[in-house]
């Protein structure tokens, strides 16, 4: 049997591997996630488990030396146990809360919105136009008055 595992063998196979399957940089996060799932590995679980291992190592540093290496601390923060999938859920929840808060503020500042008795005022922009004839303004006024009547009628129905 020949002498196994020279670096030369390994480098040759690494080069072959890169030509066939690409270098590390060619795998992006999306593809990696797909590859893991195709093999039955849940990326979220894996990330969480790795994060937990790093956190445990950080804890042991803290207990032994009272401090944690900076890069390890950062890695632990990046791999927070909640994981990116939960972080996005939390982000969605925050956005939803903000939207609801804005709506409530608008309602509070305008109580008529709740009673449905909003007074609508038309700001007829066409009135400032100089190139409209008297006839055009007359037609537009008719349209405006018609709209007002319809809205008032709708309010009356409700």
């Amino acid at each position: 049997m020949r002498e196994p595992t020279s670096d030369e063998d390994r480098n040759r196979l690494n080069a072959l591997s890169e030509s066939l399957f690409g270098g590390p940089h060619e795998i992006d996060a999306n593809e990696a996630e797909g590859l893991l799932r195709s093999a039955g590995i849940v990326p979220e679980e894996l990330t969480s488990n790795v994060g937990e291992r790093l956190r445990q190592r950080a804890d042991s540093y803290l207990q032994a030396e009272g401090t944690v290496p900076v890069l390890l601390q950062k890695a632990v923060e990046d791999l927070h146990p909640v994981g990116p999938w939960l972080e996005s859920e939390m982000e969605l929840a925050t956005q939803a809360r903000n939207v609801v808060r804005r709506i409530l503020q608008q309602v509070k500042s305008s109580p008529q919105a709740l009673s449905g008795k909003l007074e609508i005022t038309f700001a007829a922009a066409y009135r400032g136009k100089k190139d409209l004839s008297a006839r055009d303004k007359e037609i537009l006024d008719c349209v405006t008055n018609d709209l007002k009547r319809r809205i008032e009628g709708h309010d009356g129905d409700s």
Partner: protein, 188 residues
Amino acid sequence: MTVRLAGYGLRVFSEYRLGGSDATVSGVGLSVEDFVSEVLLEFAEGRLAHEASRGELFSLLATALRNDIVDALRKAAHAREESRSALPRDGTSEGQPPGLDELPARTSDFSQLMDAERYRQQVQAAFVDEPELAEVVNTVLDHGFSKPQEIAEALGISTTDYQNRKKRLRRRLIEYRLVEVRDERADL
């Protein structure tokens, strides 16, 4: 970063005939997750230094990951080799079929794993049903091309198409190993 590393690690596992979610390097019992954790710790603890001038961090970690996996395969093979030679065969078993510890494990002989001809055979077997992918494999293995441009030219396709085929090769390799492992388990 973690998911990318794990995806790359899974691919390396598949190249060395390890497949499935519970695959470990036989003898050392390390999974893709173990290797990813270790390489991240190596970096976070300063055992693996990154110099920006020497490329992106991910490439450094992925290369370290690959080397760790290959080293583990080597250690496991040597350990098995030693344990086999330390256990002389019972005289009464001469001429009988070999015991389980004497059977070659999937990754037992590291020199075979690192043998280019064996690697070639394993890779070709994985793509025998995929003509387009087999074409890439044969072109690379037969001509020893390494530059994307020359491989694409030899295939008569654009470099973009070649990149896409490489992507399919990665996915197909992992799927092939998965099926291979399932079939082997079913046969047991």
